[in-house]
Subunit: 349 residues, 2 copies
């Protein structure tokens, strides 16, 4: 399984309508009034998007609390990842992580330096120091996928310092940012550095539950923003995404409710899963949980869950993780209780 959310492929293996635990989307769905806003904004499909995305960049800058000139927008976060791999000389990744980092780099014929996370899925800074060269692109998930772990603040600052000293670029993929504990905000931390040598990447996909909208956005230095806009395809963000972003970003009640809901469900799921003896449920800062199967492999688990109407994410397509890990999304309480019951059933085997 290269990506989650591929219900079309897996539905045939289940007699029940599948509940999708393989993709990590806000369980509360879209902001409640958004549907009306989208309906009002259909006119935005019948004109070209602004080729410079002036209003959209302003909306993003107000949400991120950075200057408009620091904003990049793209057709999902993956388009911005793709462009940064084009800009880079070589691409450094830590495994396991989102497979598109390496894939986009290879498509653009870039050398990929693949480093392993340690046994606790942490980054060893010395490994970065030993390989990094000028114009390298270091891509880090924060929190990382599939592990769910954020980089602690001091480590992040140390990594950034190494990247700057070596005239490289740090691409911090924070697609799951809003689900995390609010102990720090990378965009606030690196403002004083004018985002030199860094791009902090976020998206509407996960937190705002809009994977079909295709809206990613980043915050970077003026110089890197300019380099991206020399390369990016014209009109790559569609007219609906362009126009409704502001309605997402200003719904503070929805944002707070979503954070609280996911935190409660994360606590619930971790506490239930940790009662079981045949799995290890790892710590997570995100809206998904990486689970190690102690006595079964991922294929067994995939079909075990499919037979019970649940699609999980197998993890062997992530490098450096073997065939005994699965990832589940944190969904609504009822769905989470259903998945817990299936884990309990699995535990009896």
């Amino acid at each position: 399984m290269e990506h989650g959310a591929d219900i079309e492929t897996y539905q045939q293996y289940s007699r029940k309508k599948l509940i999708d635990f393989s993709s990590n989307i806000n369980p509360l769905g879209i902001p409640p009034r958004l549907e009306i806003k989208i309906k009002d904004d259909i006119g935005n499909l019948v004109r070209y998007p602004d080729i410079k995305y002036r209003k959209l960049k302003k909306d993003v800058s107000m949400y991120l609390n950075c200057a408009e000139e620091n904003v990049i927008v793209g057709n999902g976060a993956v388009e911005i990842i793709d462009i940064f791999t084009m800009i880079a000389k070589r691409v450094i990744v830590f495994m396991p992580s989102f497979s598109e980092y390496e894939k986009r780099a290879r498509i653009h014929n870039k050398e990929v330096i693949s480093l392993d996370l340690d046994e606790n899925f942490k980054i060893d800074i010395e490994k970065i120091k030993s390989v990094i060269q000028p114009d390298d692109l270091l891509i880090l998930g924060n929190p990382n996928n599939p592990t769910g772990l954020r980089i602690d603040k001091n480590t992040l600052i140390s990594i950034y310092d190494i990247v700057r000293e070596n005239e490289a670029i740090l691409l911090l993929d924070e697609a799951f940012f809003e689900f995390c504990p609010t102990d720090y905000d990378s965009i606030k931390i690196f403002k004083k550095n004018d985002y030199l040598n860094i791009c902090i990447l976020r998206a509407a996909t996960k937190f705002f539950a809009l994977p079909g909208l295709r809206l990613g956005y980043g915050c970077s230095s003026k110089e890197l923003v300019n380099r991206v806009y020399e390369i990016i395809m014209p009109w790559s963000v569609n007219g609906i995404a362009e126009s409704i972003a502001k309605h997402l970003f200003t719904d503070k009640e929805y944002i707070l409710n979503s954070k609280a809901y996911v935190k409660n469900e994360r606590d619930y799921l971790l506490s239930e899963l940790r009662k079981l003896s045949n799995i290890v449920a790892y710590d997570t800062d995100a809206n998904f949980i990486l689970v190690k199967l102690l006595h079964k492999d991922e294929d067994f688990a995939l079909h075990f869950f499919l037979n019970r109407g649940i699609l999980i994410r197998t993890c062997s397509s992530f490098s450096n993780i073997g065939r005994n890990h699965i990832r589940i999304a944190i969904k609504n309480h009822h769905e989470n209780s259903v998945v817990v019951d299936v884990f309990k059933e699995l535990n009896k085997l």
Copy 2:
């Protein structure tokens, strides 16, 4: 002016609300019942698009009358153009033509062989023969932008034969196909060749009046389709585009009405413009007209029209065309009569 439709930039130069003659969109707007369909389909934003776009490819294949395995879909035609320039060894273009052909090739560090159209904006086949090599990508607009001319059927077949003999690839950009006289259909012609060494590219952007939707699609050989899908970004077509395509393609009444309307207005505009002595209005098969200014340059015309509430497309950003050409879209009858009046005013200077 690198692209049309940039109302955001030019509105400041006009006291009137601008009529956009710089972008070439169906003057009848979207199919009448489409707005309701889009509103019903908003649910498609809250799930991931099918990563394999199975239903969308089927919808496209039924519209184009080709097999599903021959279909490529992209984030606008420009994404498919971009990927073909990545696949190519070198890129051959004829000037003037859509600037993104050359731009995308250069972004991917491909050598660009730039040939000139003749003084009647026709293709000289001998020029192709003299330069083409294996794995070259020849990109031709059919009809071409900004000239509006289609390649005649026999010439097209000759070009295809040269491309195949030389083991190169022909990318035929037919984004304006449905506006043209129905003397031939490239997809029908090259079916017997299994679309080997060719991709025929179309889009919802122009004819279906949905530039904000970002839906391009192509018909190509199984081998080329596979190569594209090794490269294309995941989920590059958004959920609304994925779900509403079928409603566009099946509205036969709207399709016939649009073709007839544009034909009538094309005849009207050409006949009116050809009464004027200070311009040459070129033949066109498309929904836009290239106009040569005999005594003024494009900048004068741009501001002359802006002062009268009209945004035209200056053409010097297309190579091999100088600074005395402008392009106007064919819009609704009232708007067309307004633009004719401004041309008449210009003729008195």
